[in-house]
Amino acid sequence: MRVPSRDLLPRVLKGEIAAIARLLSRAEAADPECRDTLGEVYSRAGKAHVIGITGVPGSGKSTMVSVLAAHLRKAGHKIGIIAIDPSSPYSGGSIMGDRIRMSDLAGDEGVFIRSMATRGALGGMARATLDAVDILDVAGFDYILIETVGVGQDEVEIASASHTTLVVSAPGLGDEIQAIKAGILEIADIHVVSKSDRPDARSTISDLKQMLALGVSLESNAAWRPPVIATSSLKREGFDELVSALEKHKTFLAGSEAGRARSRKIAQFRMLKTAEDLLRIRFTERSAGRVAAIADRLASREIDPYAAGEKLIEGMGA
């Protein structure tokens, strides 16, 4: 008894939980049957404010998402949460535990939490993350929080997927600011130092501010200066400040050139990612039967690697 995706859509628009959940699964499975429906979803989306949250594992992202969502709820907003965890490179399976830290949100109909596994996608997000954002958007969620995997380097992609990017640094995870090490400091619209209840948080804050002061002198005419906000999810401190910084950034983007630039950046990222996916699928389909034969010629050094590569993509129109 399979409900067609197009029949799920009206129920999604009404905010029906089970229908939202099912359409998310179809998007995640890249089911060709749901493609037109997702197109329709995209054309209706664009109302929600998307907040990306990145930072190394253990920095307190999940706990923060939970407290932040509760704060935004108090102002009457509906919150969608997408929590991303890594898939095992060996089995392709995953254990997703972010919900453990979000138990305080249970029972609130205005909060929808979905766990997604990366399934080999790089960049700290799952392939279908942005489809999921659109689905939650049209289902009526005002803020959508994306918690990335948080492994570093390539996590800059979250800045091309969200309107406001939070980079979380935590005390006690090594003496260096983790975001500096990973080279993702630059993507922050707001810096958050989590676990401010810990005595060593002070030095994390001052290290971070020092680092930023160095950067600011280079870019002193930037219209938005990322603030540094200290929060403790444990003591629920700093969240009024965090929410007000979020609101400020949202206002900064609204109707401004910076906002339009951000939207273009998100659209461009989306297009490039989708094109990449399509190419990969086509490549896999069309090269399947020829890989072994060309590899043989390469192994015997009859042709060189570039010629072999060219041969493999021959006639693929790319």
Binding site: M1, R2, V3, I17, A18, I20, A21, R22, L24, S25, E28, A29, S87, S88, Y90, S91, G92, G93, S94, I95, M96, G97, R99, I100, S103, A106, G107, F112, I113, R114, S115, A117, R119
Partner: protein, 135 residues
């Protein structure tokens, strides 16, 4: 990769025995399944609500505390209230044989007790999902 079976593993009530639930989560992950774990001390209603949002194929509940005869009926009641009929309910842990019979009669699809080897757990999940069919 193409399989995409989603399982939510849950502990409910005061039961703090979490070795079994972790063992089961790991063996499902190692077989390529996606597992959501909700942690200790949740209510039956909470785990059902989470299972609906996560759109899992299987809701697996681990109970070693002896509270199974109250927990499972509450879970089934909530599933019915939520109008979800295609989430497969699976149990495990320490449960006396006569209760296993009674729970299965109530609608728990399968119950796997102590010392169940990993391959049996994985095979059971796959079989139940296959028998339910696409959705």
């Amino acid at each position: 990769m193409a399989e995409n079976i989603r399982v939510l593993m849950a502990k409910v009530g005061l039961d703090g025995h979490d070795r079994g639930v972790r063992v089961v989560a790991r063996c499902l992950r190692d077989a390529g399944l996606d597992v959501v774990y909700t942690g200790l001390h949740r209510t039956p209603e909470e785990v059902v609500d989470a299972a609906v949002q996560e759109d899992v194929d299987v809701l697996g509940v681990s109970l070693l505390s002896g509270a199974h005869m109250t927990a499972f009926p509450r879970i089934m009641k909530r599933l019915k209230e939520r109008g979800v009929s295609d989430i497969i309910l699976l149990g495990g842990g320490v449960i006396p044989d006569e209760d296993v019979v009674a729970l299965k009669k109530m609608g728990v699809a399968e119950i796997l007790l102590q010392d169940t080897p990993p391959n049996v757990i994985v095979d059971t999940v796959r079989r139940l999902v296959r028998e339910r069919g696409a959705r």
